[in-house]
């Protein structure tokens, strides 16, 4: 779980970095997180996919490394910074998405969770992102 150290309000948001040169599909998401949409928690994971998909679609498209290295450079780890840099040179789609703790359960869990999703198709990093 992410822990906020300074001013705390009723709701907060966190960011994540998404890198891929392919469409973010439900199938690729379920494969990456190791879940089934048919199980008892299936609808939760479907909601997580929908929240991430929406956040990616509406997120900030990163087209230059300066967008990551600017005043907000504390929101990515050095490893993710390097991955973004490489992804941009390879012409991959890089997006900074946002999640709110004030959203529905699926979004709220994702907002507060420290996680990384990595397959040969997609990369999502939600480590020490800014609140």
């Amino acid at each position: 779980m992410k822990i906020k150290m300074d001013f705390v309000s009723n709701s907060s948001s966190t960011s994540f970095i998404y890198i891929s040169d392919q469409q973010f599909t439900k199938e690729s998401f379920f494969e990456a997180i190791g879940a089934s949409d048919q199980g008892p928690l299936g609808s939760l994971f479907v909601s997580m996919y929908e929240e991430l998909n929406s956040s990616i679609a509406n997120g900030e498209r990163i087209v230059g490394i300066d967008q990551v290295a600017s005043a907000r450079d504390f929101d990515v780890t050095p490893e993710v910074f390097e991955r973004v840099s490489v992804a941009l040179t390879e012409g991959k789609r890089v997006v900074r998405g946002m999640l709110s703790s004030d959203g529905a359960l699926a979004e709220s869990i994702l907002c507060m969770e420290i996680f990384e999703i990595e397959t040969d198709k997609i990369f999502i990093n939600a480590y020490p992102n800014y609140w």
Binding site: I33, G34, P40, L41, G42
Partner: protein
């Protein structure tokens, strides 16, 4: 001692691998990361009241039911008292926290009930 979020009478708990299986989750990945926390809430971070009674309170209270009712404010039927463990769960992860209206506590409990029932057959 009365602020438990859940009292769960249960026979031998499932292994983590069995817990993943009943929830259709693979052992690696974000889904496992989230559901392992629920497993810990239920079976690792909880207190087994039956064991507590046996170790510390059997001198003070005439029977297990009295101990649980008087110390923990819960009345349990004989069938529940006869389970191998009675877990007192004080922390529930967000996914199963009843404070969230769309939580999955019932889904997880239903899966555990079915798992238990399958083994009793």
């Amino acid at each position: 001692m009365r602020n438990a979020k859940l009292i769960l009478p249960f026979p031998k708990p499932p292994s983590l691998a069995e817990f993943f299986e009943m929830l259709s989750v693979k052992s690696q990945g974000l889904a496992a990361q989230l559901t392992e926390r629920v497993y810990s809430d239920f079976f690792l971070g909880s207190l087994d009241l039956k064991e507590e009674y046996r170790r510390y309170y059997c001198v003070e209270y005439a029977d297990l039911g009295d101990y649980i009712e008087m110390c923990h404010g819960e009345y349990l039927a004989e069938a529940d008292l006869s389970q191998e463990h009675i877990f007192r769960i004080k922390h529930l992860s967000q996914m199963v926290d009843p404070s969230y209206s769309d939580n999955y506590l019932d889904s997880v409990l239903e899966s555990l009930k079915k798992w238990k029932s399958d083994r009793e057959d």
